[in-house]
């Protein structure tokens, strides 16, 4: 009897909390359904393109700013401008203001790689996955490294002879690296 009451209480609690909908398994569900099939190593490799701040995911290859200049002019300048500042799409180059991080206070400052991006590896990841707009995913690792080197050089973050590769890129410290904080909004009465 007591067991039945406890079970009923549990069932009611589960129903009241919408337990099943909150991600918990149905009480009658098996540990596994066995749907889907094992992914092959080739399938994973073909799609696993992300690059993390510690360099995980960076492929072999390398490039310098000097090598990136010609690729930039051919494949990027039409959208981002001859020097990376003219647009019409996102402005890529710029360190202004040289000190401070006034973007919250002042909408006049344009965010660029040089003044806002916290990780150099993100640049590799994004150019590789999404650029150029009319031929996404078409660049070779060497081309991406060269473009990354060129853009970091244009933003005065590396020298024009610096070689960017899987070892050096994660060590590049971006100017805005220390500016980012985790969301501290929690609901409740305070406006943050």
């Amino acid at each position: 009897m007591r067991v039945a009451v406890v079970l009923l209480a549990l069932a009611l609690a589960a129903a009241a909390c919408g337990n099943r909908d909150q991600g918990a398994a149905r009480p009658d569900a098996p540990a596994r359904f066995g749907f889907g099939r094992a992914a092959t190593a080739e399938e994973i490799a073909a799609w696993n393109i992300d690059v993390m701040p510690d360099g995980a995911g960076l492929p072999p290859g390398s490039g310098t700013a000097a090598q990136g200049l010609a690729i930039y002019a051919r494949k990027c300048a039409a959208c981002h401008g001859r020097t990376g500042t003219e647009g019409p799409f996102d402005r890529l180059v710029g360190r202004e203001p040289r000190s401070g991080f006034p973007f919250g206070r002042d909408p006049r400052f344009v965010k660029t790689l040089g003044n806002y991006w916290p990780y150099a590896t993100t640049l590799y990841d994004y150019v590789n996955r999404a650029m150029p707009l009319d031929a996404p995913g078409s660049l070779t690792p060497d081309e991406v490294y060269r473009l990354v080197a060129f853009l970091l050089w244009r933003n005065e973050i590396v020298t024009d002879t610096a070689v960017m590769n899987a070892q050096t890129l994660p060590r590049v410290v971006m100017p805005a690296h220390d500016r980012f904080v985790i969301d501290n909004r929690r609901g409740g009465p305070e406006v943050r």
């Binding site: 991600g23 992914a39 919250g104 790689l113 990841d125 996955r129 707009l133 996404p136 985790i182």
Partner: protein, 413 residues
């Protein structure tokens, strides 16, 4: 292409559609819809047989609700909030935001790969996803940039659509992400998942694993039918209450890890620069918000007398607990009636009767959610976030009613 400002033409189109599709009397004088319907209407419909059955329904030719596209493949389109009743957004009017257009995906060749810190890296085709136990829930989905047009250079000729059209509510059907994670066996220490789409931007976001345990879905159904291509056909991630961008559409890969991936969309975009010289990242939850959708620009009140003020409120943190409305620029506030059901992380329709005395005034709505969060004033939000901040614009919206019955968007008070 890069022009993301709202063009005069788009604005006029919106005004025309609002005038054409909504009750004509509300603009105070007879006005012909921008494009008159071609349907021949008999003088007396009871004296002629009606139209035959059909395989697919259509709207009345007299109703022309339209999204307003801003930009092209990389832009967004805004839902016509002022033309909608209740809380559900028709799927073909659901707002859009794409980073590289809408991909064409053959559901027969669709695959979702889950790998990384899992016991069994697995590929699910659409049929496999649909075999799992499913759930259906009404949730709002909102772009975190929604409301940006009302934050800085405020213009009086903004419609609800142009202010807050990047929010929509649908009934979403799918499989809880937690079910899929039990299937693949998540390894200890897993903290983040990367969700990646099959669009030309291969759009990707890092999501905390806790959200999967809470209420995340892989959704394949929207308002009773398959997802629309613009909403992620054939399957998308749905993170109830969280900023639209993280709800990755056309999802093809989930990688589980012990740390975030720091993609472009969670570093250089979708972060909130603050007045103290920092930028907030992973600001997923959409705070409580409301907007009056009637009366609102370009409506003209035809005469003094009774009107029903109506609008929507929503919170990414749970249920709306109350909406207060002021018809005197914020001096007095009255609780609005909330239409049941009031669902968590879902649009809630509020209504309130108002007798306009013909005098100039300002209408305001203020939402409170079940965490006790109160929709802030523009001043409060600017003080907390700064004038330059980029997302999460949930301040109180104000409508100025003039003596001649015109209603314009405006500042509070």
């Amino acid at each position: 292409m890069a022009d993301v400002s709202i063009s005069r033409r788009a604005l006029l189109a919106s005004a025309a559609s609002a005038v054409g599709a909504h009750a004509l009397w509300r603009v105070g004088h007879a006005q012909v819809p921008a494009q008159a319907p071609h349907t021949i209407v008999p003088p007396d419909p009871t004296k002629v047989p009606g139209a035959p059955l059909s395989e697919l329904g259509r709207r009345s030719p007299f109703e022309r609700p339209r999204r307003i596209p801003v930009g092209s493949a990389q832009g967004s389109s805004l839902a016509p909030l002022q033309d909608l009743y209740g809380i559900v957004t028709p799927a073909d009017l659901h707002f859009e935001r794409h980073h590289a257009g809408v991909p064409a995906i053959d559901p027969g060749r669709y695959k979702l790969l889950i790998h990384g810190m899992v016991e069994r890296p697995t590929v699910f085709d659409l049929e496999a996803l649909k075999r799992f136990p499913s759930v259906s829930h009404l949730y709002f989905l909102e772009c975190s940039g929604n409301g940006g047009s009302s934050y800085r250079n405020i213009r009086p000729d903004l419609t609800p659509q142009l202010i807050d059209g990047l929010t929509s509510t649908s009934e979403w059907t799918g499989v809880p992400l937690a079910t899929l994670f039990r299937e693949v066996g998540v390894k200890p220490g897993a903290k983040w998942l990367l969700a990646e789409g099959a669009d030309a931007a291969v759009m990707a976001r890092s999501i905390p694993m806790d959200k999967a345990a809470e209420d995340a879905l892989i959704a394949y159904g929207q308002n009773g039918e398959a997802l629309r291509p613009e909403q992620g056909y054939p399957a998308r991630l749905l993170l109830p209450g969280w900023e639209g961008n993280a709800n990755v559409k056309w999802i093809r890969r989930i990688e589980i890890a012990d740390r975030p991936f720091m993609t472009r969309e969670e570093t250089s975009k979708y972060t909130d620069p603050l007045p103290d010289g920092t930028a907030r990242m992973f600001s997923f939850a959409m705070d409580a918000k409301s907007i009056i959708t009637f009366p609102a620009y370009p409506v003209i009140l035809p005469e003094r007398g009774w009107f029903e003020i109506s609008g929507i409120a929503w919170s990414g943190r749970g249920r709306i607990s109350r909406v207060d409305v002021s018809t005197d620029a914020g001096r007095r506030w009255t609780p609005a009636e909330l239409q049941s059901p009031v669902l968590p992380k879902c649009h809630t329709r509020f209504r309130c009767l108002w007798r306009w005395d013909g005098r100039e005034t300002t209408l305001l709505s203020r939402a409170t959610d079940e965490t006790g969060y109160v929709q802030p004033t523009l001043e409060q939000l600017r003080s907390a976030r700064g004038l330059g901040t980029s997302y999460h614009f949930n301040h109180i919206r104000a409508w100025r009613v003039r003596g001649d019955g015109t209603v314009m968007f405006g500042l509070e008070g």
